[in-house]
């Protein structure tokens, strides 16, 4: 069984974390474009994207059937499916895998919902350890301004309405995001997250991210060609 240890695959895994509105997805997308242009094989894995599990997650969210425990488990199931299907095989093939959100999102959200931090860390022991876990640090007020200014309609679970922080969805979102940010901050040391100051310009952040990633790519082949021999059955 694949556990939380360092992987021995030829590929690399870079993941981005941060509260909503930290700009992490923009940064990951810019990183992806650069890596492709440099000639690397890149595979992009989204959070909550396993088609099979997604249907169950959507049903649970729509009908508000999820408790903190089942919310945690269904997301773990989804990440397990992504790891078994979309992360380990490309890593074995020598690709660079990029993931927008990873286990730290679960640790932050589930912990904020009252799930035991120890249990949820053990739950995710199957996960592959990232080459670099980036954490985009931004003050809560900055991220809230970005999110609440740009978006109509917050969703029930996204706003943490399930844990009764406030009857007002926007207020609940603020409180919930604050709780999640506190958990991220505590994880910086626990997991050695690489902190990026997300109040700087997009270009400055991207330069720093590229420099850090580039250091890890010495052994990663560009335009890798693998001849696979397989038998027809």
């Amino acid at each position: 069984m694949q556990t939380f240890g360092e992987h021995q695959f030829p590929g690399k895994l870079f993941i981005v974390e941060g509260i909503d509105g930290s700009g992490k997805s923009t940064q990951l997308s810019l990183l992806q474009q650069w890596l492709r242009r440099e000639g690397y094989m890149v595979f992009f894995s989204e959070w909550n994207s396993s088609p099979l599990v997604k249907e169950t997650t959507s049903r649970g969210k729509k009908k508000q059937m999820l408790t903190p425990t089942t919310f945690s488990l269904i997301h773990a199931t989804d990440l397990a499916d992504r790891i078994e299907r979309h992360i380990i095989p490309p890593l074995k093939a020598g690709a660079i895998v990029l993931a927008d959100r990873y286990i730290y999102t679960a640790f932050a959200r589930d912990g904020a919902r009252g799930v035991s931090p120890q249990w949820v860390r053990e739950l995710y022991r199957f996960a592959v350890k990232p080459t670099i876990p980036f954490y985009f640090r931004v003050p809560l007020e900055v991220s809230l301004k970005r999110i609440l200014g740009a978006r109509a309609g917050l969703k029930h679970y996204e706003a943490g309405m399930d844990i009764n922080l406030s009857d007002d969805i926007e207020e609940s979102f603020r409180l919930f995001q604050g709780m999640i940010k506190d958990r991220y901050e505590a994880m910086v040391e626990e997991f050695g997250l690489t902190v990026i100051d997300a109040t700087r310009s997009i270009e400055e952040q991207q330069d720093e991210v590229r420099a850090l990633v580039e250091r890890e790519l010495q052994d990663v082949p560009k335009h890798p060609v693998r001849i696979l021999d397989f038998e027809e059955d």
């Binding site: 694949q2 269904i74 009252g114």
Partner: protein, 237 residues
């Protein structure tokens, strides 16, 4: 030490789950475990009316899938599209949904929850599929410790005739065909169920199973279960 007769309180195996106040749980949780074809559901179907006629409200559960994850698991199994870790966790989601939405509310209402299988079958399936035993046991640290776990035990040669009395015969999953243990359903069934029984046996002391020899007649097994459950319930007062 206060005796359970006076003051019955549930415990979790491990970290448990948030939003459950254990002091509110009044009922009793009784588990019937054992491999496929051992006769668990026959016993549950006899025990339920007996308990009800004795004045206990009973929730029998375990055969159906949860409202949340049941459909997804069915689809996954139909297409055999999930890897072993994902399938293991999908089962745990399904279990947690049933625990929180069926079993715990029934216990809160003072019911006797009689469940056909519990976490032990799920743990055994995971271990047989190569999962780390410490990992899967810690995942199921969310579960309540039952008041009694009756392990209906039989060796594989005794299971075969029972499985063949059912129209489905050797089922794909009960034969562990997903993990390629044998040439056909029969070879695979023997190997898979042998491994399952070994894992169940290894859990007897760890989890405090009360083992019942399931090669006896259904009526003898039923009487043994009645005797033990009767003793448990007399302490309820």
């Amino acid at each position: 030490m206060e005796s359970r007769a006076n003051r019955h309180t549930f415990e979790f195996y491990g970290q448990g789950m948030p939003d459950v106040d254990l002091s509110e749980l009044q009922g009793r949780l009784i588990v019937i475990e054992g491999p496929d074809g051992v006769g668990r559901s026959t016993q549950v179907s006899m025990l339920k009316p007996w308990l009800e006629s004795s004045g206990h409200a009973v929730l029998d559960t375990g055969m159906t899938r949860s409202a949340l994850a049941g459909k997804g698991i069915k689809q996954a199994k139909a297409g055999i599209t999930l890897g072993p870790i994902s399938l293991t966790l999908f089962y745990s989601t399904d279990f947690a949904d049933r625990l929180e939405n069926e079993m715990i509310p029934a216990l809160r209402a003072g019911f006797i929850v009689l469940t056909d299988r519990y976490i032990y079958s799920l743990i055994a399936r995971a271990i047989v599929r190569g999962m780390d035993p410490a990992w899967i046991k810690s995942v199921y640290g969310l579960a309540l410790k039952p008041d009694a776990i009756f392990y209906l035990r039989a060796n594989v040669p005794d299971l075969i005739p029972r499985v063949l009395t059912r129209p489905t015969g050797f089922d794909y999953w009960e034969s562990g065909m997903d993990i390629h243990l044998g040439e056909d359903h029969f070879d695979s069934f023997v190997e898979y169920q042998t491994r399952m029984v070994n894992v169940f046996d290894s859990m007897i002391d760890e989890y405090g199973f009360e083992t019942i020899d399931a090669t006896q007649s259904p009526d003898t097994i039923y009487k043994a279960l009645q005797r033990r459950i009767g003793r448990l319930l007399r302490q309820m007062g």
